[in-house]
Symmetry: C2
Subunit: 185 residues, 2 copies
């Protein structure tokens, strides 16, 4: 399978089977991710892998508290879109996915955010290659959930990736045509 086929196949997934993926597959995806380029080659990424059920439940509880506030305050076009898509403050994938992978950036490094999100791009494709699914979940209360993990202050939480096998029937959202995103000058 070439990269275009892999990228087209890869979709965002929010419902996970309880079947535990092999740790080797998760490790493989991180081995790929850490090959990304980075500012000053600082490799400002840190990946924290969680599989303990109680810990995942606590994380879900903290995130859902933030989501409730976010949903209560969201209005207009965004709120309409959220309702239309069937999204709510409930994030069952945070306790149901076999793994949660927290991805951090070291804020002391130049272009740390950019570098870490390149690495997340690599990671998404590598998970897909192993038949694994995820969603780039960005909590509403980043600080609170970051405090729960309790890393050194220079690390900023960028995303939580729940990882497992998909049982999500939702199809991949459509992409624009290339002519709508590519300008030739």
């Amino acid at each position: 399978m070439n990269l275009l086929e892999l990228a087209k196949k890869r979709k965002t997934v929010r419902k996970f089977d309880s079947k535990m993926p092999s740790f080797e597959d998760i490790k493989y995806a991180i081995e790929v991710a850490k090959e990304a380029p980075s500012g000053k080659n600082d490799q400002p990424w840190l990946y924290v892998l969680i599989k303990d059920d109680n810990r995942k439940k606590e994380i879900r509880k903290i995130c859902e508290k933030g989501e409730k506030t976010f949903y209560d305050n969201s209005k207009g076009e965004l709120r309409e879109w959220l309702d239309k898509m069937g999204f709510s403050w409930e994030k069952p994938f945070l306790s149901e996915a076999p793994y949660l992978l927290f991805v951090y950036s070291n804020m002391k490094s130049p272009f740390s955010k950019e570098s870490v999100w390149i690495s997340i791009g690599y990671l998404l494709l590598a998970l897909e290659e192993k038949g694994l699914a995820t969603v780039t979940y960005t909590p509403s209360n980043f600080n609170e959930i970051s405090n729960y993990i309790n890393l050194s202050k220079e690390y900023k939480l960028e995303v939580i990736l729940p990882i497992g096998y998909s049982i999500d029937p939702k199809p991949k959202y459509k992409r624009k045509d290339i002519d709508d995103v590519l300008i030739i000058k």
Copy 2:
């Protein structure tokens, strides 16, 4: 070749052959990039491809003006690193690479920066798959160079990717071991 082999092979390149890559290969890489997930599926990316020699020369001139100021002002650890690596304000790759690909994010979209950098991650791997090389060049004077391209104000320039075949003898910089970037909790 699996994704890990592809990612390990991919290195940052700053010296390019004058041989023109096929437009189909560039298009392929963008087809891959636009499959990335994005906040609200807004697909907030815009790719502007430039191959005109005079335009590339002008871009180089504007960027090097910014680089001169940056190098004059850079001190301490960063400056030592730049000198050690043999970097200077001169950016010949901006006129020598057959193509320049400007990547923009639409600031009106949620998580536009994150989404666009995932897409850049996809793009880097797709270029490598086609035997093409690039460097994620972030100019010091983003605003000035962005004005030169003259897109609508909501578009923010994230990176310039010079694209071509590598003639860069520099090896890939070493990556940390997985145990230094992965924490199991």
